[in-house]
């Protein structure tokens, strides 16, 4: 029924993301195996911030310049730079893209497609449509970064015992972050009744989340919001668990955000008229 429909609507994207993450995981794993300067990589896992070779990397220099220009390190380095040296950096990017696009494929898009009359005249409680969407969406959000991480494990274990732990430790944070982004996109699509509008609003909200604290910091030297945002992204840092304590606070924060969007979506569809 609707579960079949929800899966039918997003399966192409889910499979694409899974294949992409699997490929990156495998390719990166192979790269680790053949890496000439393994020591440089191992220092990362040991908690040393960067090895010297790193600073001669033109790509890093470019993004360091960007980092200085923006005055903010956080998620930008993870999403844009780190895919170059650390496949795990693809995780937040995959979560961002998958969460946004899968959220926009929920039941909210049926308003724009003028099929909401048909959907809501099926004999089922309205909440079920939302819950089924979320089951499918969250399953995908869990599978996608896992598909990236698990192929890496044997390679990483072969070069350092702490490697797998470092990778696995980042997974729960990615899951809850993905769930929150999915929730944002799902809710905005439901409210606006359009996948395109939902995606645009969600992307705008995420950009604000990244830029506003930086702007406040750079222009008015107001650091409170920047510190808060950095706190929410703690689980994605280089020295995340097991090199440092697991970022429970950040994980619970994103979980609460996701739950908030789920609750708001359930309330909205209950009262929304067609």
């Amino acid at each position: 029924m609707y579960l079949w429909k929800a899966w039918h609507d997003c399966r192409a994207r889910v499979i694409l993301y899974i294949l992409a993450t699997l490929s990156i995981g495998v390719l990166f794993g192979l790269q680790v195996e053949s890496w000439a300067n393994l020591h440089a990589y191992l220092t990362v896992f040991r908690g040393v911030h960067r090895n010297q070779w790193f600073y001669f990397d033109d790509f890093y220099i470019t993004f360091t310049a960007l980092h200085h220009a923006l005055g903010y390190y956080g998620i930008w380095m993870h999403t844009f730079y780190e895919p170059r040296w650390d496949a795990l950096g693809y995780g937040p990017l995959a979560m961002l893209l998958a969460g946004l696009s899968l959220g926009a494929s929920g039941v909210g898009k049926e308003y724009g497609a003028q099929t909401m009359n048909f959907v809501l005249s099926r004999p089922s409680h309205r909440r079920n449509f939302v819950l089924v969407d979320w089951v499918v969406g969250l399953t995908a959000v869990v599978i996608i970064p896992s598909a990236l991480a698990f192929p890496l494990l044997p390679f990483l274990f072969s070069v350092h015992a702490k490697g797998p732990g470092n990778v696995l430790g980042g997974l729960p944070v990615l899951w809850v972050l993905g769930a929150a982004i999915y929730g944002l996109s799902y809710f905005t699509t439901l409210v606006t009744g359009s996948a395109a509008k939902g995606l645009t609003l969600s992307a705008a909200a995420l950009l604000m989340y990244g830029f506003l604290p930086t702007a406040l910091h750079e222009w008015w030297h107001a650091d409170l919001l920047l510190r808060a945002v950095e706190w929410t992204l703690r689980g994605l840092e280089d020295d995340a668990w097991p090199l440092s304590p697991f970022a429970w606070g950040a994980a619970v924060f994103w979980l609460a955000v996701a739950a908030g969007f789920l609750g708001a979506s359930l309330a909205w569809i209950r009262f929304r008229e067609v």
């Binding site: 048909f118 005249s121 099926r122 004999p123």
Partner: protein
């Protein structure tokens, strides 16, 4: 069991200051074909959507198949087949996939009927919905509603895009396969000839209120159009008078019954009766709902509806 498939009392739906449905009292007998007629914007689709829980009523009450629309919506939807006005389904699915999606919701779903109607209506079951013609899209919408084993079919503008042959088939299917089984059909339509062909009850809605609700047979047997002439227009007041249309010295009176008695009253007021004619559903509909219209003479006619 309640002998009404749909019963509304003072049902209202407001959108801000717009009173789309305004105190609607409607009774659709079980086992009937009920033609729900009205001009564009009269409140037909809003009424139907309210009955199915797609809109929340602003006031009043409504029962569908004996269930309150506020309390037992899922039970209503399980027993009601609905074809929407816009005939839009999931673009990426084929009719066969739409059947697969839909059948799980309805315990009385009939696979045999799917095969039969798909062949009868010549539906391309493996073509993506977005690639179907409007007529085929309409057929698919009907297929889904007809096969779910519903006790009530609510069809909003059912013949949009259908050719005359398929329209004829559809009307026959409705009567022979569904009404004959004791099921109820509510046709919300502008196509008066279709309604007149199969309906046994009609309800005419205007500005969110029912103007007329009666058996079609009653219209055929009792409603009459009385054409009369007079130099001056006398003031006529009668509960049987539905509408009056004027053109220069001529008057057309639409009355619900006792046409001869009404004509006698007109004669007593100095009018000359030209003819007394049986009326079609279309004439009743126009008599009730049209506003000023140009006559052949080019001068506007007028309409007066008794309070």
């Amino acid at each position: 069991m309640n002998d009404l498939a749909v019963h509304t009392a003072g049902l209202a739906k407001f959108f801000g200051k717009t009173r789309a449905v305004d105190g609607l009292d409607m009774k659709v007998p079980r086992g009937s074909v009920y033609g729900f007629l009205g001009r564009n914007g009269a409140g037909k689709t809003t009424t139907v959507k309210t009955l199915l829980g797609l809109l929340r009523p602003s006031a009043g009450s409504a029962q569908v198949l004996g269930y309150d629309i506020r309390q037992n919506l899922v039970a209503i939807l399980e027993r009601t087949g609905f074809v929407t006005e816009n005939k839009t389904l999931f673009d990426s699915l084929t009719p066969a996939q739409l059947v697969h999606f839909n059948q799980g919701y309805f315990p009385k779903w009939s696979g045999e009927l799917v095969a039969r109607y798909a062949e009868l209506f010549e539906i391309p079951m493996q073509t993506q919905f977005s690639k179907l013609s409007l007529g085929n899209k309409t057929k698919v919408c009907h297929l889904l509603a007809l096969c779910q084993g519903a006790d009530l079919l609510i069809l909003d503008e059912p013949s949009i895009g259908l050719d005359p042959v398929i329209t004829d088939l559809l009307l026959r299917v409705l009567v022979e396969d569904h009404v004959s089984e004791g099921k109820t059909v509510l046709l919300s339509s502008h196509q008066l000839t279709e309604v007149e062909r199969i309906a046994d009850w009609v309800g005419i809605i205007e500005k969110g209120k029912i103007l007329l609700e009666t058996r079609l047979e009653d219209i055929r047997q009792n409603y009459r159009l009385i054409r009369a002439a007079a130099d001056t227009a006398p003031v006529i007041s009668s509960p049987d008078l539905v509408s009056v249309q004027s053109s220069e010295n001529f008057r057309s009176y639409l009355v619900t019954r006792e046409a001869e008695d009404f004509a006698t009253m007109l004669r007593a007021k100095g009018m000359t009766i030209l003819e007394i004619l049986p009326v079609s559903l279309e004439e009743v509909f126009l008599g009730l709902t049209r506003k000023e219209v140009p006559c052949i003479s080019g001068k506007p006619g007028t309409i007066a509806v008794p309070a």
